[in-house]
């Protein structure tokens, strides 16, 4: 057990190091100059531009040799310092992220977990119900093929503009300041619902189809036929099939995480939801190295952590993994 997790942790550590290094490199090798961009929005009317340029380049330590910037970056990162955003100057990136990340978590965690759970349940259920299989699964295909952003716009249009029952922008009403009351909590949930729903629905379709196919496959497996021949009740066979079908779905979840996060980012832009989605977009457009790195760092850590949790869950649900740990296979 310890060796298994030790090895896993080593792999995760290496992945983290490489991912963060790439994360550091990519924005820096984009064509463009963050300080020039920052100043260009200022529409200066004097020689001040030139003076300010040198001033800020030095303040951001962008005049150092590139290797030294890299060393400084790790040094700062290990001290919990992600630098200062040029786009949101002079706000530290950590502060920007701390304000935005809760909104991302509030969207992502429920959307991922609930769609996975509900999608699998529904898929398994649909696989044994002919009329559902014929009617609702095509819907699942459509849902899973829908881009998050597009579904988001559609939902905003239907529920926000045509029906006028749900808000289309912001995390809470523009007429409120946060305060502890049911009114405010209700308002937050109301604003949360549509972005959540667009994430939930697309993933739900995917999981439902996956599970439905897996169940049909498992029911055709030898062990199912064997159980059937033994005269086991159908329900028991279904249960075994479901549990076996769940395993690939679990590893599928690990693979899907990156896609889901990307989907959440565009959904946030569609709903003007104050997560890191629009921050990342703006950060990239403005060559804000520090903000872009911070946003990706959140994604890297999030995806790695989630994968780790799934690894643990895998050990819990698949007895073969546990057995493998004591044997020679990893």
């Amino acid at each position: 057990m310890r060796r298994y997790f030790g090895r896993k942790l080593l792999v995760y550590g290496l992945t983290f190091f490489l991912a963060v290094t790439i994360d550091w490199m990519i924005p820096r090798f984009m064509p463009g100059d963050p300080i020039a961009n920052m100043l260009s929005r200022a529409a200066l009317n004097a020689d001040a531009a030139r003076i300010l340029y040198t001033y800020y380049t030095h303040a951001f330590r962008l005049d150092l040799p590139i290797w030294q910037q890299y060393v400084n970056f790790w040094n700062a990162l290990l001290h919990g310092d992600l630098g200062i955003s040029t786009y949101l100057f002079p706000t530290p990136v950590v502060k920007v992220l701390l304000r935005a990340v809760p909104y991302d978590l509030a969207l992502l965690i429920p959307a991922i977990l609930l769609s996975w759970l509900a999608g699998n349940r529904f898929g398994a259920f649909a696989a044994r119900t002919k009329w559902l299989d014929n009617t609702l699964l095509p819907l699942g295909y459509i849902l899973t093929a829908t881009p998050y952003m597009w579904l988001g716009i559609l939902l905003a249009w239907v529920f926000g503009i045509i029906l006028g029952v749900l808000p289309i922008a912001g995390a809470y009403s523009y007429s409120m300041t946060p305060h502890p009351s049911w009114l405010f909590v209700g308002d937050v949930l109301k604003h949360w619902f549509l972005p959540f729903a667009s994430l939930f629905l697309v993933q739900f379709g995917g999981w439902a189809i996956g599970m439905r196919n897996m169940i049909i496959y498992e029911l055709e497996a030898d062990y199912s036929h064997y159980l059937e021949a033994l005269g086991a009740p159908r329900r028991l066979i279904r249960d075994y099939a479901f549990r076996n079908a769940l395993l690939p779905q679990l590893s599928g979840l690990a693979l899907q995480l990156g896609v889901v996060v990307a989907g959440a980012l565009v959904t946030e832009v569609v709903f003007s939801y104050p997560g890191i989605g629009s921050l990342l977009l703006a950060g990239i457009q403005n060559q804000d190295y520090f903000l872009v790195m911070g946003c990706f760092l959140f994604i890297i850590i999030g995806v790695l952590l989630a994968n780790f949790v799934i690894d643990i869950a895998y050990v819990l649900v698949d007895p073969r993994t546990r057995r493998g740990m004591t044997g020679e296979t990893g």
């Binding site: 020039a36 529409a43 001040a48 922008a169 300041t177 209700g186 619902f193």
Partner: protein, 589 residues
């Protein structure tokens, strides 16, 4: 193994409950969108400030492009996404009204040149900071002196010709100059925000130049109340000195909303959640005609003109270093298509002088008649042929006189949809005239770097905003000297000492000498239209769509003395504040 199932079921049930909760809580609160959220039910617990009364709150958008990050009035331009900072909180000596072309005394009661090198300002009596301290000449002097102390402040170059600034009693301020740049100085008079000495004197250089200055204290009509990722909330300053002079603005609160895209702003306008949107909304002509929103003009172009979109040409590379080629190019661009198709009539074609309609008395119509240009592909072809540009290899495009092929790119940042349309029109119409020009849309960062380092062929730029002087535009177009990085103008690096001298000459003409300014402008325009170093194409609009549902008396073409309907940064002192003061609440039915 049953436990696993159980856990699943519980989680699903829990999630449904959670979702249900979300919907359940909304039902009692739900007087649906256009109406405000009613604070009536939970009122006993919540103080009134946490839910703003719709009838007392003004919702605006289109000014902030990112989460609020700084309230430092010296953070230049739109870097301060908290756009109300200059205008609501910090004020200036004068305001400028582009509709009338007049400077309006603001903190100052009057200002005049007592001789060629001395400018005297008298402040109004009874000015106060919002913390109750009096605002006096000492604060004004302190503010201008900061520019002398810190080169990082944008107005510090002013001290190249400002020699001293002294107090004359509590209310008088005397500026002494040597060889003053009158045009720049008077522009600064309405752009430098005055800060309180008693709060700023103790600050470090870093705090003053780049500090975030949270919870700003100023002298203006509104006070900072709160902010979050997507909004700034400003509350009326009930003890504003200006209530006696200008009258109190009607909205108790202003909520400045940052939308992540123009689509969101469009949706909010349709739902009546925004009173004034200063976003560029492509379909707004249609919405205005159908009465969903109001615009300044009831018909095309619907919007006032805010700045000039100029096609900068890289004059350091052939064939763009040839004035004849540039002139042919100017005749080949179908500006009408940009106006009618790309913008669906939301903008107007620009005068070849580049000057905004508000500065039209500085346009020399005679020069324009003689040397101006408009879309005329035949003329373009004949100029090209005359200058030796002919299609040698029969590919449909002309080659340079030395036989080399011509392939040029016209660029704008990716995602600026209106400009992307516009450069397509430019490329297409130029191709029809036989010029091999293609459109390209790099990311903003890459575009900006190319712009400033001079590694583009042709690109759009509009960085001169509305101004009291034509010098602002010509300072952008003919900025000099040519440096390694051209950050604030003359991106095409057009080197022409005669023009530079003319622009410097204009800067030294006193603002009162209108005839002198006109003469200087005529000379500039004569040279500009002969050489065509860049091509002004159209006037970008002062995008503004507003609703009369909650607030009324917005400025339109029918108003007696219209002001600018805008919340953009840098426009408060150009009439934005007056618009705010003129607003009236719609009486409750």
């Amino acid at each position: 193994m049953k436990r696993w199932n159980l856990a699943l079921t519980v989680l699903v049930a829990l999630s449904l409950l959670l979702a249900a909760c979300g919907q359940a809580t909304e039902t009692p609160v739900e007087p649906v969108e256009p109406a405000p959220v009613e604070p009536s039910e939970p009122a006993p617990v919540t103080p009134t400030e946490v839910v703003f009364e719709r009838s007392e709150t003004l919702y605006v958008s289109g000014a902030a492009w990112g989460p609020p990050s700084t309230w430092n009035p010296f953070q230049p331009g739109s870097l301060a996404n908290t756009t109300g900072t200059i205008g609501y909180v910090y004020e200036f000596l004068f305001a400028f009204d582009p509709m009338t072309g007049l400077m309006t005394p603001w903190l100052a009661e009057s200002g005049e040149w007592t001789d060629a090198d001395t400018y005297a300002v008298t402040l109004r009596e009874g000015l106060t900071w919002s913390d109750g301290e009096p605002l006096t000449a000492a604060d004004v002097i302190f503010t201008f002196e900061l520019g002398n102390q810190y080169a990082a402040l944008w107005f510090s170059p002013m001290w190249n010709y400002l020699t001293s600034i002294t107090a004359d009693g509590d209310l008088g301020v005397i500026f002494e100059f040597t060889d003053p740049l009158y045009q720049e100085f008077e522009n600064n008079l309405y752009n430098i925000p005055i800060v309180p000495e008693h709060l700023w004197a103790g600050m470090s250089e870093e705090e003053i130049t780049i500090g975030a200055n949270e919870a700003p204290i100023g002298s203006g009509a509104y006070l900072y109340e709160s902010h979050s990722e997507d909004r700034n909330v400003w509350v009326r300053n009930e003890s504003w000195w200006g209530i006696d002079v200008f009258g109190a603005p009607a909205p108790t609160r202003i909520v400045d909303i940052r939308t992540s895209s123009n689509n969101v702003a469009l949706g909010m306008v349709l739902k009546g959640e925004l009173d004034l949107s200063n976003n560029y909304l492509p379909g707004v002509a249609d919405m205005s005609s159908r009465g969903y929103v109001q615009t300044y003009f009831a018909d095309a172009p619907y919007m006032l003109s805010a700045n000039t979109a100029v096609l900068f040409l890289n004059t350091t590379t052939p064939p763009l270093d040839d004035p004849a080629f540039r002139r042919a190019l100017a005749f080949s661009i179908n500006t009408d298509d940009i106006v009618n198709v790309a913008y669906a009539n939301l903008v107007r074609a620009a005068s070849p002088t580049g000057l905004l309609p508000s500065l039209s008395n500085f346009m020399d119509q005679d020069v324009v008649d003689r040397l101006g240009y408009s879309y005329d592909p035949d003329e373009a072809r004949s100029i090209l042929a005359e200058a030796g540009y002919v299609d040698v290899n029969n590919d449909g495009f002309v080659e340079a006189p030395d036989g080399s092929e011509i392939a040029l790119e016209v660029t704008c940042p990716f995602g600026w949809t209106d400009w992307m349309e516009a450069i397509n029109v430019i490329a297409n119409s130029a191709q029809e005239a036989g010029l091999n020009i293609v459109a390209a849309t790099p990311d903003y960062g890459a575009w900006n770097t190319a712009l400033q380092t001079g590694t583009f062929d042709m690109t759009l730029n509009n960085w001169a905003s509305m101004s009291n002087t034509p010098w602002t535009l010509y300072n952008l177009l003919f900025r000099h000297p040519i440096q390694e990085q051209m950050q604030s103008g003359n991106f095409g690096r057009w080197e022409n000492q005669e023009m530079f001298d003319l622009v410097d000459g204009l800067a030294r003409v006193p603002m009162s000498d209108v005839a002198g300014m006109q003469a200087a402008c005529s000379a500039i325009q004569e040279l500009m239209l002969t050489e065509v170093p860049m091509i002004p194409l159209w006037y970008n609009g002062l995008w503004a769509q507003f609703s009369n549902a909650v607030w009324t008396n917005w400025p339109t073409e029918d108003s007696a003395s219209p002001t600018l309907p805008t919340t953009w940064s840098g426009y408060w002192q150009l009439g934005g504040l007056q618009t705010l003061i003129n607003l009236e609440p719609v009486p409750a039915e």
